[in-house]
């Protein structure tokens, strides 16, 4: 199908050549983002991350080691009577022993795989719709905003952090960055890692009806981040 590519680009180029600028107009790119002065030490970042995510009604669990992380995940599942979870593949979970440990406890661990074909895809999605808990790791976390950064990939489906009403992410304290600009500066090729990079800042929320805060309108309304270390 032919479309208006060339005519649109030509029209834009004409305008660019005329080049009227606002009174303060400048042409140069302003360069690297302004640095933000935020704590960058481990304890300072954990404190900030915890405070910010709690303000957004998310829950942060700080644990000392892998065994405690396992225990905390099991507690969260037991409290909800959950026997089936949607999770990233074992090697992408923190710690990698979490998947086998879940199965050893008799919990069904659904992989994130979706078929390409329409009807099969719908059938698979329908079969996953009653899963209550999704479990993932993260690519990083932002102390200043209480965000986790999740990147899609083989064995790292988008749907684990998206479809179930409860999302548990297990991260290491060393994964924290002070700020979003600092994270992007440290991960310049992040868009090459996966087709979807998402910074998740708190549980799903809406204020559409009279500004009343409602959590979990589409994405998970109950977000738990377990920080190891």
């Amino acid at each position: 199908m032919t479309d208006s590519r060339d005519s649109v680009l030509a029209a834009v180029a004409r305008g660019v050549r005329v080049g009227t600028l606002p009174p303060d107009g400048r042409l140069e790119h302003p360069g690297a983002p302004p640095p933000l002065d935020r704590p960058s030490d481990r304890e300072g970042m954990i404190a900030s991350f915890t405070r910010e995510l709690q303000k957004l009604m998310g829950t942060v669990h700080r644990v000392a080691d892998d065994a405690q992380a396992h225990a905390r995940v099991f507690e969260l599942l037991e409290a909800r009577g959950v026997g089936r979870v949607l999770a990233w593949d074992d090697q992408w979970l923190r710690p990698a022993s979490l998947g086998p440990a879940l199965r050893a406890k008799g919990i069904v661990v659904e992989p994130c795989w979706l078929p390409a074909d329409g009807p099969d895809r719908t059938a698979r999605l329908k079969s996953l719709d009653d899963v209550v808990v999704g479990i993932t790791g993260a690519h990083g976390a932002l102390a200043d905003t209480g965000s986790i950064v999740v990147v899609s990939g083989p064995g790292r489906g988008r749907i684990a952090s998206l479809m179930p009403p409860v999302h548990i992410a297990v991260i290491g304290a060393e994964q924290l960055s002070p700020t979003l600009p600092a994270f992007l500066a440290a991960n310049p090729s992040i868009a090459d890692v996966g087709s979807n990079v998402v910074a998740i800042t708190g549980p799903s929320r809406t204020g559409d009806i009279e500004g009343t805060l409602v959590l979990g309108v589409h994405g998970p309304g109950d977000l738990h981040v377990i920080v190891i270390g």
Partner: protein, 475 residues
């Protein structure tokens, strides 16, 4: 909302004649302005980051052809498709063709102002494709056959009782299901989730396109944007040609000012960056677990290219945060529908005439006191008052100003440049207005000015002019 009054002034009369609407709009704009102000106050670097964000936008628009080509190349490099639409009709035709080519019957849609601009939903309906809006506010708008009244918060003109009535009528909701906002949201979630699971195609907007990586970024709080772009096998992102930023670092800067300015959030809940379709493993490598099989970007011009390089180019810097709506004393009084345009508020008053001509939209730039609140809160410091004046100037040059306004201003000029005449005119005005007034206020002005006093009172002039009082004081 087919019953919208025809003229701007009729729409304004209707809006400010409704106490319920006024209360709803005032509450919502106050809430959002306060949230924005608090978030800005808590961000010590806000001014520096705003300056930087403005510089990024200025640079990008000044080199827009270059960055559009770079964006296209990089989307294609990742296996995505880029389509270019010169007009609304072409944009709709492109999306209908994608739907037809892939046997699409149902579409789930994320919030997109451009889709409103090009009237996408009626176009898809004509082609036999079912569209489901999935943002809670937009879903309510769709159920009620209404239009959004705010670019970020679409239903600030509706009360929760309005939504409850609507859900009872259209979804046969029980009293319990509409008892409060959380339960209404839960009902909508259940209905919309069914749509997500079986949709063939997801259509999203695009807050930003990143040239260097070929990525589209959308920001949502509900997560419907992620579901729209992840579950269906096809994803189509719809965006204006001006929404490009050069790099991911630049995107990070924009996101820092967008969330704070729009809703007072440090970051919107889901800052969602999509770079191409689901990645397929090559040479025996593993494929990504999920994501859309196809990724299409539709770049919409629809008048934007004519603004590049013009005196109005600055409006292309806009990142659609809605802060100028919330801060505008005119918008605060009458809400979004009175503008009669897709984009309401100060940004709409510049953008609509710029995109579609002053012949149709010359009333909108008049709907401003030029107080400058919009410029003050704009995250990229767009000089909206300057462009409103540009529009007013052009309106006069095109002969679109009402004859009595032109006549009145000409008469005023003749009088104002003659001091003796001016003094006599002042005395006359003072005498006349004080005769018409009760307790210092005129309830109803005579002649053509009657419209001005329909919804407000006009103050009587003082009995002595400023100059008279000054002379008396000097003695």
């Amino acid at each position: 909302m087919s019953s919208a009054p025809a003229t701007f002034y009729e729409r304004v009369d209707k809006a400010i004649g409704s106490p319920a609407l006024q209360a709803a709009v005032r509450n919502a704009t106050f809430r959002m302005s306060s949230g924005r102000d608090a978030a800005v106050a808590a961000f010590p670097e806000m001014d520096v980051v705003r300056d930087h964000a403005r510089a990024i936008r200025a640079h990008t628009i000044a080199r827009l052809d270059h960055y559009l080509r770079e964006f296209e190349t990089n989307v294609q490099r990742r296996g995505g498709h880029v389509h270019w639409a010169a007009t609304s009709e072409e944009a709709v035709a492109i999306i209908v063709a994608i739907a037809r080519d892939h046997g699409v019957k149902t579409v789930v849609k994320g919030k997109s102002m451009v889709s409103e601009e090009i009237e996408l939903n009626p176009g898809l309906a004509l082609a036999g494709v079912d569209v489901l809006e999935t943002d809670l506010g937009e879903y309510i708008v769709q159920l009620d056959d209404d239009h959004p009244s705010h670019i970020v918060m679409p239903i600030i003109h509706k009360s929760r009782q309005d939504v409850a009535r609507l859900f009872r009528a259209k979804l046969h909701a029980t009293d319990d299901e509409v008892a409060d906002a959380p339960r209404m949201a839960a009902l909508a979630r259940r209905v919309l989730r069914k749509g997500f699971l079986q949709a063939d195609m997801g259509i999203s907007g695009g807050n930003f396109g990143v040239a260097a990586t070929g990525s589209v970024c959308i920001t949502t709080n509900e997560g419907n944007g992620r579901l729209t772009t992840s579950l269906p096998r096809l994803h189509v992102a719809l965006m204006g040609i001006e929404r490009i930023v050069p790099t991911l670092d630049d995107l990070g800067v924009m996101l820092q000012v967008l969330g704070r300015s729009a809703t007072g959030q440090k970051l919107t809940v889901y800052s969602n960056v999509m770079s191409g379709p689901r990645r397929r493993g090559r040479d025996g490598g593993e494929s990504e677990s999920d994501g859309p099989e196809q990724f299409h970007v539709v770049l919409v011009d629809n008048g934007r290219s004519t603004l590049v390089g013009s005196d109005l180019a600055e409006i292309l810097y806009c990142i659609r945060c809605g802060a100028c709506l919330n801060s505008c004393p005119v918008y605060q009084q009458m809400g979004g529908h009175a503008y009669g345009s897709i984009y309401p508020g100060p940004v709409g008053a510049v953008l609509m005439p710029a995109l579609q001509g002053l012949q149709r939209w010359h009333d909108l730039p008049q709907a401003s006191s030029l107080c400058g609140a919009c410029k003050e809160v704009c995250p990229v410091r767009i000089d909206i008052p300057r462009m409103l004046l540009e529009h007013r100037d052009t309106t006069t040059k095109l002969g679109l100003t009402p004859i009595w306004v032109t006549f009145g201003l000409t008469a005023f000029r003749q009088i104002a440049v003659r001091p003796a005449l001016f003094r006599r005119a002042q005395a006359l005005a003072s005498w006349a207005t004080r005769r018409l007034a009760t307790d210092g206020w005129i309830k109803s002005l005579p002649g053509h000015m009657a419209r001005w006093s329909k919804k407000r009172d006009f103050p009587a002039f003082a009995s002595k002019t400023f100059q008279q009082q000054w002379e008396a004081r000097k003695r």
